[in-house]
Symmetry: C2
Subunit: 657 residues, 2 copies
């Protein structure tokens, strides 16, 4: 089946598979793989970790939601407010926790959709069009497009989504956060409230940031650290909400978060059902291009959230399902449109934080080798900061560290945090929320922005470049590239240009077009970058977003075995028929064995492989799967934990059915 | 001569020496030891390090001086202002750089003397007494007391000054800084200027602090880091002085630093010569108790500054001279009083920063052993932060670090920074200084306070106590105490009580009495603490402030050889006659040899030893001097560098004459 790279002549392999789409195949396989775990998804929730994870996610979800609601409230003339945003979160949480293949993914209102919403408002409202009706039509068209994507197995394209576009998107979202924080403050006039708000925003940022740092540091015992890391931000928000009422500040009246009536739409004149028929026919069709953009955004944003929430650092045991979830996302988008809510989708960084908060750890002795390698392309979730910390300010030698043994994979924490959010829409709690000064929410934006930047792979590479070369560990993978530092500069420059273009367009009325820029990054990475960078460099500078196990749903990772020729396991070149092509991915690496008694640690259906045009000649499964770890030095640090998990279960890598 | 400890029966040894004071002996020896280096003190200044050290010290000296001048200006009804404070710095710099035995010690107006000055004002001005005349009489009495101290060799008492009182004093000074920053802000009303000032103060702190952190980190190349560390704070002050004039802030008129006319006293009605005869006779004698308190303060503060500026971490080669310098300090105090200036004395942390900025470094490979030991009792200067950094966030393995080879010991940098300060008193520069908002100076107080706290030994011990024990290196000296953690808690509690008492009294009208509290800490450490803590614990929890080489001027360190019996060099017990007593100190450890060709790395006169009641039977000099390093595990990290320097020159430890 020898597949070949896109820069060579078009050939057989999965290139052909794109044209021979087997409708519904992806969704059906997702359900077939996940269904056997559905009961356990509820039973497994009988675990203490679920309690702190629920409380943590409630705050981690609702606080940014409130900040975004303030933003949209201002910029859409009260079309969207706190109640709409909260209800959108509830909708996403209930639907995805109960029905999704990936119930760990937290769904809610994100920064990009906020940008989308008010840009559409800016374009549409001067025409006199009913805004919510127009948004409803966008959502309905988008529902159709989502379902088309789901039915045609379009999520298989995720195999080309490496860290490269994810990092750029994460960088973009971080700067959107920072910009929103500044915008919130700059709307507050030029008198006492303005300057007090700047101070409060800065103070919220500093205190919440220090809580996070202490949570990742070595001060205090482990439970105290975890408490500070989990609840530091909500406690900071609560503290400063009270703080502005003491001393001289009592005399300054600060702008607070606008709220409405319990369970009622913010715009008091409408019911929850949007009068979507109250629009002329031309506008119905005008909604189509917007729906396309929205679908592109959600295809990327939701799937990347899912990928990162199921990233390589989490030893997950239950299979992923991207096709089914994009189908569900179409559903929630349509429902949200009909109810006049902002459309919820997968949340970064909340989704990976959720998985992280469900990790069960054990203490193990640090070995010297473990922390010798750092990773240049760490994830945009919490993992990047951990890797960095482990290297430069983390655990000193001769100590123990916590290793993740497993994740409490279940549906209850997601559902429960959604129901808590629903409870927040009651009258008394809305009154409490109404006390939060806008300055505190601005500080919250700063915290989110800076923390997102810290965990970003672009930041990690920039820090590597500006770090004193004599203080960088000799074993650092980016330090051993044959062509020296210039490929790193070049790669970072491409990433910053991609970010700059996306961020720049967001400042214009063409902001709705930014998803196109993000989407374009995927072919740029797949087709253009390999012309300028060697595969060794790309292996060090870029990496897969999720593990092969997670990527089963979409047919494996892009480029996972491309270094086969320099690998140490010669079997690899015989693994798949004609392996070695650029796009041969991880498909050839895991081959089903027929031991039915094995634990279903990693399952892979023969149909998946077939669908993608792969033969599944079985040999050398376990050994070959470990091979990419040895071949790509850049990911050694990141993969170590995964490698341990894999090797402990290497005897049980088998087919699910 | 077998000396014995104070808790046992009074006996011979240097106890007797206290009664048989050989007048002028200390001063004479100081001059005799230092005079041979006087020419080289000017010739050695032909070194590039002197240039950045001068510029750095100019800013490090003048910025706190401006902050203190604002404080005194407000609290003494314009008796002291910018011109007085600057002239006091110039006076101290010129006299000490040209005449002192310890020209590295930067002299200027400190926080404690500020407290002293305005407390005296609060007490005296209601009586209708001429404040400056009264201060002049205090200074004249104090001159007498200083000279008495110098003549009677009272600085020999410095051998009992361990890190314990220094750390408490440093902690106290740090909190004074923080309090002053808050006071500056709280005087600014409750309108826009107040809230803008809070924001600016916080921003100055954050930016300057980050500059310092980057300077100590591994980002950027070495010259960039050094630049940020040296000039980050002045550049921050300059930036924010301009920043408050942009955008909406332009409309807010901020309070700025009040300045006077070039080279004129702030109180325009007087000449520089204080009319000290314009006071009644009763008040002349009332000045005596205040002069006693001032003398106690300066005896402690100036000498501790000198000790820390010549701390164990600096490989100094020119001898110290405490007796002569306290004589000079009496002179500058008297002159300052007659001119109506605040009295200058040794500055912490500027004095150790000055020595640090004169260090010449070379790059050496990190060995694994070097950073294995951390120190629990790091200095209040910059060294503590370095030790901490080396352990927890410093250089990763397999890298190089900078080692200090020598210090450019000379008089030019101190003199030049004083002359630059004199230049600042000209009209045009006073106009520039007049632009600095008080909020920026408040931020400067915060920076000084937090940086002083970070480098403090009490902070280091508190951080050790709250650190997760499983994340503390097993080799940490505080981790291996037989009685576990409670001695550390106890020691820290004593330190915090000492700090709390001193800080509390500063808040009352009895604030002038705080030097007594500080002085009392010395006997508490020498007589009371040994009853509750074992000598092993005290060795781990406390340590000498300066090296035996520096302490030669005052007769060695307290308790340096008390662990002789558990030491590894048996010669030590035979070194001095009857060594092993609690107060036998370093006297027995270095014994002159008669090799005239040796470099005068460490000189010791037979007279010094004789004066302190020591016999000088010569044997085993170099080996024994290294012995305390082995005996006290707590100081291993701190002493390593010193140990290297000492061992490289161990063949040349000899008599000066």
């Amino acid at each position: 089946m020898a597949p070949s790279g896109p820069s060579t002549a078009p050939a057989r392999g999965h290139r052909e598979a794109w044209w021979k789409i087997r409708l519904f195949r992806g969704m059906a396989n997702d359900i077939r793989r996940r269904a056997p775990y559905y009961v356990s998804d509820w039973v497994d929730a009988w675990d203490y970790r679920v309690v702190p994870a629920t409380i943590y996610m409630y705050f981690a979800n609702i606080l940014p939601a409130l900040a975004f609601s303030l933003d949209m409230f201002t910029k859409t003339q009260m079309q969207y407010g706190v109640n709409e945003v909260l209800l959108a979160s509830v909708l996403g949480a209930v639907v995805f926790s109960v029905l999704a293949c990936q119930p760990l993914v937290i769904v809610g209102v994100t920064g990009p959709i906020t940008v989308f919403n008010y840009t559409v408002y800016d374009i549409i409202s001067p025409r006199g069009t009913n805004y919510l009706a127009f948004m409803c039509w966008i959502s309905l068209w988008s529902l159709v497009f989502h379902w088309l994507l789901a039915v045609t197995n379009a999520c298989n394209g995720l195999r080309y989504v490496t860290r490269f576009p994810c990092d750029i998107f994460g960088f973009y979202v971080a700067f959107i956060y920072l910009q929103k924080g500044i915008q919130v403050l700059s709307r507050l006039g030029d008198a006492e409230p303005f300057y007090l708000s700047i101070f409060i925003g800065l103070a919220v940022f500093v205190v919440a940031y220090i809580c996070g740092e202490v949570g990742r540091g070595s001060l205090f015992k482990h439970p105290v650290r975890v408490f500070l890391k989990d609840y530091g931000t909500p406690l900071t928000v609560i503290f400063f909400t009270g703080f502005v009422h003491i001393g001289r500040m009592r005399n300054v009246s600060l702008e607070v978060l606008p709220t409405g009536i319990a369970f009622e739409p913010t715009d008091g004149t409408r019911s929850w059902l949007v009068r979507f028929w109250d629009i002329n026919v031309g506008d119905v069709f005008l909604a189509i291009p917007f729906a396309v953009l929205l679908t592109i955004l959600f295809y990327f944003d939701h799937n990347v959230s899912s990928l990162i929430a199921q990233g390589t650092e989490f030893p997950l045991r239950k299979p992923a399902g991207f096709h089914w979830d994009i189908f569900l996302l179409g559903l929630t988008t349509g429902v949200a449109g009909i109810l006049g809510l902002p459309f919820p989708n997968g949340l970064i960084p909340q989704a990976p934080f959720h998985t992280e908060s469900l990790c069960v750890t054990e203490l193990v002795k640090d070995s010297s080798d473990d922390d010798a390698a750092a990773t240049g392309n760490s994830g945009s979730g919490g993992s990047g900061a951990d890797d960095e910390g482990g290297e430069f300010k983390g655990h000193p030698r001769n100590t123990v560290h916590a290793r993740v043994t497993h994740v409490v994979e279940q549906r209850v924490s997601n559902l429960a945090q959604g129901l808590l959010t629903l409870g927040t829409m009651t009258g008394p709690l809305l009154v409490v929320i109404h006390l939060i000064p806008q300055a505190v929410l601005a500080g919250l934006f700063f915290v989110m922005g800076i923390q997102a930047l810290e965990g970003n792979g672009i930041t990690a590479k920039i820090l590597f470049l500006v770090r004193d070369v004599s203080l960088t560990p000799r074993s650092h993978p980016l330090k051993n590239l044959p062509r020296g530092q210039w490929p790193i500069w070049g790669f970072v420059a491409v990433e910053l240009i991609g970010f700059g273009a996306t961020f720049a367009i967001t400042q214009t009325v063409a902001a709705v077009g930014f998803p196109v820029f993000i989407l374009l990054l995927i072919p740029v990475r797949a087709w253009i970058l390999p012309r300028f960078f060697t595969s060794e460099e790309l292996a060090a500078l870029d990496g897969p977003t999720a593990s092969p196990f997670t990527m089963e749903s979409v047919g494996g990772n892009y480029g996972e075995t491309k270094d086969v020729s320099i690998g140490t396991v010669p079997d690899a070149s015989q693994g798949g028929a004609g392996a070695g092509g650029l796009f041969d991915s991880g498909m050839a690496t895991v081959v089903p064995s027929e031991d039915p008694s094995a634990i279903n640690l990693r399952s892979r259906s023969r149909e998946d492989l077939a669908e993608l045009g792969e033969s599944s000649g079985g040999n050398g499964a376990a050994a070959i799967e470990m091979q990419p770890l040895a071949a790509s030095p850049a990911r050694t640090g990141m993969h170590n934990r995964r490698g341990q998990a894999a090797s402990s279960g290497s005897g049980s890598i088998s087919r699910a059915r």
